[in-house]
Amino acid sequence: MYKGKRIVAFAVVFCAVVLMPFWANAFGASASSGPEVSTDTPAINQMDEKQCVAETEYMKGSHMQLLDQWRTDVVRNGSREYTSDSGQVYEKSLDGTCLGCHSNKEEFCDACHDYAGVDLYCWDCHDGSAS
């Protein structure tokens, strides 16, 4: 090879960069085996029927839409009551309703958000503790 050293160096850098996820996980901080989401809080444990404001599947994929809607309703329209599909009425409140049950923000909210590297701005205003 001509100018072989430079080309080999280039190839090595290329491989190192492209395969970074592989070696970073092999040699770096050990990866977790996925988020461990806990619903083990006093409030939830007290519930007879463990029931959120909507179906789990919906909450998993769309909780941010719900929260966004709640915020708009409360701040813009002064509407504070949310009636779930099961007919139960909740207060539209992150601190009161959500964190009231899920008082373990770190094991619940953060577990997934940190794992998936989701950048969110809820905690820019809310401090994450139940009120």
């Binding site: 100018k3 190839a11 395969l19 996820p21 988020p35």
Partner: protein, 329 residues
């Protein structure tokens, strides 16, 4: 035809992944086997191409000089566009790679009656630059699926990219710009007659592949809102060599993954290798110093030359008559 075939091929690939995972249960194939094969193709193929180029000699220094040479001390040299040192070459390469210096020179020639007019034409430069930088940022952003814990700087990039705080999930600026840039590059190839004329099917195919990857990605995030945690469990499985299929991750994810796999597997066999090639380009990566430093050609041939002795022998009478000195006396 040169548009229809690559378009159909791309659509077929997307449909394969969709049907394969939605109806045929081929999750292992599309979620594990194909990605590994694609990465292997990409890395091995890319290195092979580099080495293959490297095996060809660089017999001469042939930089295209685009500025004043280094000559007399009082004449200002253009050290970047006509480098005479390694540092200058590095500067020139960085400008080429990072901001597409040469493309920035682009002009447009038009014929008006019996005159040629030359106008500014920076759109190609802008479109190419926006596309490549958006792509790079998107790839960097994707590292959050391959690293656990996610490094803080990635969250910073993510936040910056989403800083408009529009929509939920937050809209990425790079998603907008890459779609815009790809649309421009595609339309340009179709609408500008000259560019359409010189385009080949293999110019459209990677363009469609990339558009496909981007659209599937965008749909995944903004339309289907697939199970992010499930996706990350799969991607982490891949990069920690403990691959596993997570149920309930939608088919659109497999479409995205399959098209991306197809893109990187195709990469080394295609014009996409310009990414590696530019660094080796002899008209850009060499210093214009061959009058100062001898450059050696490894295969410099021995050639037969017409020697002075032969010349004098042929013309000695005429030379003598013309009063020219001769060696032979």
């Amino acid at each position: 035809m040169k548009i229809a075939i690559p378009l159909a091929l791309t659509a077929l690939l997307a449909a394969l992944a969709w049907a394969g995972t939605e109806y045929l249960g081929l999750q292992v194939l599309f979620g594990i086997v194909v990605p590994y094969v694609a990465v292997a193709c990409f890395v091995i193929g890319f290195v092979f191409r580099l080495v293959n180029w490297g095996r060809s000699a660089v017999p001469f220094r042939i930089p295209t000089t685009c500025g004043q040479q280094k000559s007399l001390p009082w004449i200002k040299q253009n050290k970047i566009e006509n480098p005479s040192s390694f540092a200058g070459v590095v500067g020139r390469m960085l400008l080429e790679v990072l901001v597409f210096r040469s493309l920035f020179r682009n002009t447009k020639t038009e014929k008006r009656g019996d005159k040629l007019g030359v106008g500014s034409a920076k759109w190609l430069w802008l479109g190419a630059l926006v596309f490549h930088w958006s792509f790079l940022l998107i790839i960097v952003r994707h590292l959050r699926f391959f690293l656990d814990p996610v490094p803080a700087f990635l969250a910073g990039i993510d936040g910056a990219d989403a800083f408009l705080q529009v929509g939920l999930p937050l809209l990425y600026i790079t998603d907008l710009t890459i779609v815009a840039a790809l649309t421009f590059l595609f339309i340009r190839r179709v609408v500008v007659p000259r560019v359409r004329y010189l385009s080949l099917p293999n110019d459209f195919f990677p363009l469609f592949l990339i558009i496909g990857v981007v659209l599937a990605g965008v749909a995944m995030r903004y339309v289907f809102r697939i199970d992010l945690v499930g996706v990350k469990e799969m991607t982490m499985g891949l990069v920690t060599l403990h691959p596993a299929i997570v149920d309930g991750v939608g088919a659109i994810f497999y479409v995205h993954l399959f098209l991306a796999s197809a893109l990187i597997a195709y990469f080394p066999f295609s014009k996409l290798m310009h990414a590696g090639g530019i660094v080796l380009s002899p008209t850009r990566n060499a210093a214009n110093d061959s009058r100062m430093v001898r450059h050696v050609n490894p295969w410099n041939p021995d050639v037969k030359v017409h020697t002075y002795a032969e010349y004098e022998d042929e013309y000695k009478d005429k030379m003598a008559k013309a009063g020219l000195p001769l060696d032979a006396e």
